[in-house]
């Protein structure tokens, strides 16, 4: 068990002896500000933990049984003054976040997730849970590509759970996912959001090179996004790419002759058919292969998918769409994610 920083609300293990496995619990008594009597400024934290995690019901299942997870990360984001910040953070195993920073004057806090192990291996299961309080604003990204190595007879999994309160905003813009030879990977993301919240999630999936230079030697990638708005399931995005079995991966309905996949999901009450048409018009000129699809979702929201032979064109398409929305909705400058 590792504390991200002293003073940030992290408890040790609190076991319920005789009641099954030991469940790590976050101790609500140790709050962000002054839990251990340390100055707020040292950690950029300016408030106390707003979320009560005292009862077992609030914590059991949040972080699960320790051996179950190779790494866990939990963040509660709230507003403190004009800025958003993690008022509680917790991590364990091979997941961490860098200290928060602010890319502009909007108050949006940026957290960078890092995997000190460098890659996901077979049997590894990772859990990321993020609560964003009403009105708070989070940009979540990664320090580098998520790499999936061989997972013989097994698979690596990442489970993410996002909760967005009223008027909360999350931009989740990780680096590409690279799956190497004989890798199987499941990425399951569940989002529960208020109808007034705003969500942007992007993903680029690329095959790693195998020693003989061939692409697509990974076994299977599943990307499942389940988004509920106001408690009602609105989007079930369930992509499965499985080279080698079933439909060939180079079939026209799977990847064609392309190798890289880009995806963007936006859930926001301001999305309408006119906005989808605007973004389509904006992106069509930078879609040289004509492999871009964009559609209006219930919610409302929009989905974008694109195929390519490399990462850059996909980053350009997704980046242009994200920057357009930033300019339109929050008057923020185009995103420049310098990696720290």
């Amino acid at each position: 068990m590792t504390q991200t920083a002293p003073g940030v609300a992290v408890g040790g293990l609190v076991g319920d002896a005789g009641d099954g496995p030991v469940i790590p619990r976050l101790l609500s008594g140790q709050t962000a500000a002054g839990g251990l009597g340390l100055p707020d400024a040292a950690y950029g934290i300016t408030g106390s933990a707003a979320v009560d995690r005292t009862g077992p019901a609030a914590t059991v299942g949040r972080l699960g049984v320790p051996p179950e997870w190779a790494g866990t990360l939990s963040l509660d984001i709230d507003q403190r003054g004009a800025k958003s910040i993690a008022v509680r953070q917790f991590h364990d195993g091979a997941l961490r976040v860098l200290r928060p920073h602010y890319l502009d004057e909007s108050g949006q806090v940026c957290y960078v997730v890092i995997n000190p192990g460098g890659a996901y291996l077979g049997g590894d299961r990772y859990l990321i849970e993020v609560d964003v309080a009403p009105g708070a604003d989070l940009l979540l990204t990664t320090q580098s590509a998520t790499k999936i190595y061989r997972t013989p007879g097994s698979r690596a999994e990442q489970h993410m759970r996002l909760r967005l309160g009223p008027r909360a905003r999350v931009e989740c813009l990780p680096d590409p996912l690279i799956a190497y030879r004989e890798a199987s990977y499941v990425q399951a993301t569940r989002v529960d959001m208020d109808p007034t919240a705003s969500l942007i999630m992007a993903e680029v999936v690329t095959p790693g090179w195998s020693p003989d230079g061939a692409l697509f030697r990974y076994d299977e990638i599943r990307m499942r996004n389940e988004i509920s708005i106001g408690g009602r399931l609105t989007l079930l995005d369930n992509l499965l790419i499985r080279p080698g079995t079933g439909s060939p991966v180079d079939s026209m309905c799977t990847m064609g002759h392309y190798t890289h996949l880009g995806s963007l999901l936006v859930m926001d009450a301001r999305v309408d058919a006119a906005l989808v048409a605007d973004i389509h018009a904006l992106l069509a000129p930078i879609d040289p292969d004509g492999q871009l699809g964009i559609t209006l979702l219930d919610g409302p929201g929009l989905a974008l998918r694109a195929l390519s032979h490399s990462t850059e064109p996909l980053n350009a398409l997704i980046g242009a769409a994200v920057d357009h929305l930033r300019g339109r909705w929050t008057a923020q400058a185009p995103l420049n994610l310098r990696k720290y």
């Binding site: 609105t234 369930n238 992509l239 079939s251 026209m252 309905c253 990847m255 996949l261 004509g290």
Partner: protein, 228 residues
């Protein structure tokens, strides 16, 4: 002489590719492949159809039918409806499901009036359910007592037949070529029936990027024969 099972004629009627559900105006992404020139003859259409069966027909429609047959409560049926609707990202596919679902439901209620179909129709009317032809078909089939494998075969082959009729008009293909494609699809549908009864729940709604992109691109295609 043995009589045919009582469900056979209602099943044949609901499986008729000429059933007025509007299926003749939905290519479900095929038209984008025609537009791009990737589907242009019997062989390329047969290839597309195989992929469509393996990807969308099995993982969305057929799994939905199986989950309806397995549903123990009305809430479970509603959950299947919700997931099936939410899994259709391309707008035209979602709208096709709602439109054809309403027509299939109306026809099924006329073919086999029963409380189960009335309850589902009520849920669609109230907005609790979105409606989808596979669900109306499954609710009717369940009330009729159609065995799962037969219900799945009938639904999938009916969809395959509608798409083939659309390909005959859209590519165009000769009628004989269309019948050869349909005959060749027997084995694929047979495999799909087995698969639909064995896939895990996490596979519900699985799709593939190429097909989704084609279905999304259709929205922005200028000259179109089909609504999806």
């Amino acid at each position: 002489m043995a009589a045919a099972p009582s469900y056979l004629l209602p099943l044949l009627q609901l499986s008729d590719s000429a059933l007025p559900t509007g299926a003749f105006s939905h290519s479900l992404g095929l038209e984008s492949y025609l537009h791009r020139g990737l589907v242009h003859d019997e062989a390329t259409f047969a290839d597309w159809l195989t992929q469509f069966i393996r990807i969308q027909l099995v993982h969305s429609d057929a799994l939905a039918i199986r989950f309806v047959l397995e549903a123990e409560t009305e809430a479970e049926l509603h959950r299947v409806d919700r997931e099936l609707h939410a899994a259709a990202l391309p707008r035209e596919i979602r709208e096709a499901g709602v439109k054809m679902g309403a027509r299939m439901l109306e026809i099924a209620r006329a073919v086999h009036p029963c409380p189960e179909l009335e309850a589902y129709a009520g849920a669609v009317a109230s907005g609790a359910c979105a409606g989808h032809p596979a669900l109306a078909f499954a609710v009717a089939g369940r009330a009729l007592g159609v065995p799962a494998a037969e219900l799945l075969s009938a639904y999938m082959f009916s969809t395959v037949t509608s798409l083939t009729q659309n390909a005959i008009r859209g590519i165009p293909l000769g009628q004989s070529a269309g019948q050869r494609v349909l005959r060749a699809a027997h084995r694929e549908v047979g495999d799909a029936v087995v698969l639909a009864q064995t896939l895990p729940r996490e596979d519900f709604g699985v799709t593939a990027p190429g097909l989704e992109i084609a279905q999304m691109q259709h929205e922005h295609q200028r000259a179109r024969m089909f609504m999806s």
